[in-house]
Amino acid sequence: MKKNIITVVGLDTIGIIARVCTYLAENQVNILDISQTIVQGYFNMMMVTDTSKSPKDIGVLSKELASLGEEIGVVIHCRHEDIFNKMHRI
């Protein structure tokens, strides 16, 4: 399993989750967990995903997600889960 964490931050609008999830489904990325909240009017979401079945490598997924974010008006990043685990877990 290749776990990557996708973060989506930006002004709240209708259909953010739908657009991101559609992209992930089309690219065979499995969503393992989603947390979402609104902080001071800002939409804030993180998804734990498994990208091992995707035909695209992580570099391509990251770039495509970033440009999808630009279309929706939010910022999307995709990072390997280890960077979070190392920083926050001993």
Binding site: I5, T7, D33, T37, I58, S62, H77, R79, M87, R89
Partner: protein, 454 residues
């Protein structure tokens, strides 16, 4: 499982607070390239560097993409060239030709700097050490990516005052050789006391003779992250402040450790050390001076600056040491002037002088760094400044360094511009009283009494 708040904290550090891995530096030993024939030597050096570091930049970019963390620089450090070129170089010009080969190799593999055009002369100079030192002005002028460093003293050996005297002259010559670019050559030249063998940061990186054939060292950074974290504890006591610095340094260093291990695994090169340093850049918010001001100073340079820097440096180490399996290099806070907007502002406001900077170097990880002085400063005065710094390092058993730029044709009140990570700096006044007779004595300052520990 990691939660959304933790994920947001990490993302914010990277996206808004300039958290990055400052450098992945590959240390390459050139001892097995030694040859009495200069052409053969240069060929072997070029081949070894371009072979070992062929994938360095690509792997760095791969890690950057996968982990979503910027890795600002990919660099190379090599065995001090005075040792490698000693048998082949009959003149300073021979050494300069090696510098050109190194520059070509750096260009070929795509690294922005290569460090190790160096000599270790803390007790005495061999003819090769001296030739290399005399070749530095032309080597710095004729190359773009080669960095030079000279170790002129250590706690164990004392200070080689002949080398100190010579380096004062060499710095002036280097400044003159690159005067069209605000004496830029001097930004690539560092004079050390107690130089570490495994420093990944430029311009002082070299691959010590005690090291393995090839290793990966990583330098982390993150002044912006520490500054933002400290905004949460404004007005709280020192214990709370220190705890916050430690926790933040831990998190920053863990990222460095992760990147170091990944780079080491993918390049199939052993992991050396993580250098826990707060290295500023001219970018807004990426300033060590900003941290000191957040601790409670109106401006860096105010009374209290040395104490604030001492606690910052110590807490960074305490937090970082636990986060990494091997710590080394310089490890501490860097206080360069031209590379830190807060320091530049303090100089412009009249709050920060060379004398205060010298005091600060007693408690931080390096020394007088990226300081521009008037172009007509005598070589003996520069030697005096180097001797003062070396004395601080020797007596306190720590690394100190001088990277000072006499900007030819410019004086106090003017600005030297270097561009990029090197930034720009207002020219600082230097004490005009002479130390020429002191420097002219020659010889060696013996090692201090507390170095005799056997």
């Amino acid at each position: 499982m990691i939660n959304i708040w933790e994920v947001n904290e990490t993302s914010k550090m990277i996206e808004q607070e300039n958290l990055d891995v400052r450098t992945i530096t590959m240390g390459i030993s050139l001892l097995d390239c030694i040859d009495a024939d200069l052409e053969k030597l240069k060929q072997k050096i070029y081949e070894k560097i371009t072979k070992k570091a062929a994938r360095l930049v690509a792997v760095g970019e791969e890690i950057e993409m996968e982990y979503g963390i910027p890795i600002v620089n990919k660099r190379i450090s090599i065995t001090p060239i005075a040792l490698v070129g000693g048998a082949a170089c009959r003149s300073a010009e021979d050494f300069v030709s090696i510098a050109r080969t190194l520059d070509q190799a750096a260009r070929e593999v795509g690294v922005n700097f290569l460090g190790g055009y160096s000599a270790l002369a803390s007790k005495g100079m061999t003819p090769a050490d001296e030739r290399l030192m005399r070749s530095i002005p032309q080597a710095m002028a004729q190359t773009e990516r080669v960095c030079s460093s000279i170790n002129v003293g250590s706690t164990k050996t004392g200070i080689n005052m002949d080398a100190v005297k010579l380096m004062g002259e060499i710095i002036v010559e280097t400044a003159k050789a690159t005067k069209e670019e605000d004496s830029r050559g001097c930004t690539k030249l560092v004079v050390f006391c107690n130089a570490p063998d495994d420093n990944p940061f430029m311009a002082g990186a070299f691959h010590g003779v005690t090291e393995a054939d090839c290793i990966i060292n990583v330098g982390v950074s993150g002044p912006g992250v520490v500054k933002t974290a400290l905004e949460e504890v404004r007005g709280k006591d020192f214990e709370t402040l220190c705890e916050m610095i430690k926790r933040t340094a831990f998190k920053v260093t863990r990222v460095g450790q992760l990147v170091a291990q990944e780079a080491s695994r993918r390049l199939e090169v052993p992991f050396g050390i993580v250098d826990l340093s707060l290295a500023p850049t001219p970018a807004v918010g990426d300033s060590v001076a900003g941290i000191l001001e957040e601790i409670g100073l109106e401006s860096v340079g105010a009374p209290g600056t040395t104490a604030a820097l001492a606690l910052l440096n110590d807490q960074v180490k305490k937090g970082g040491v636990m986060a990494s399996s091997a710590v080394g290099g310089l490890s501490g806070a860097f206080i360069p002037v031209s590379e830190d907007q807060g320091m530049i502002d303090a100089v412009n406001a009249g709050a920060l002088t060379i004398e205060k900077l010298e005091a600060m170097t007693c408690v931080c990880s390096v020394g007088l760094d990226m300081i521009t002085i008037p172009g007509d400063t005598p070589a003996s005065t520069i030697s005096g400044i180097i001797a003062d710094e070396a004395a601080i390092g020797m007596v306190n058993q720590k690394t100190t360094a001088v990277r000072i730029i006499p900007v030819i044709g410019k004086g106090v009140g003017e600005v030297a511009k270097f561009g990029g990570l090197l930034g720009y700096a207002p020219i600082l006044p230097v004490n005009a009283f002479s130390c020429e007779t002191f420097v002219a004595r020659g010889g060696r300052i013996p090692a201090p009494i507390h170095s005799f520990k056997n």
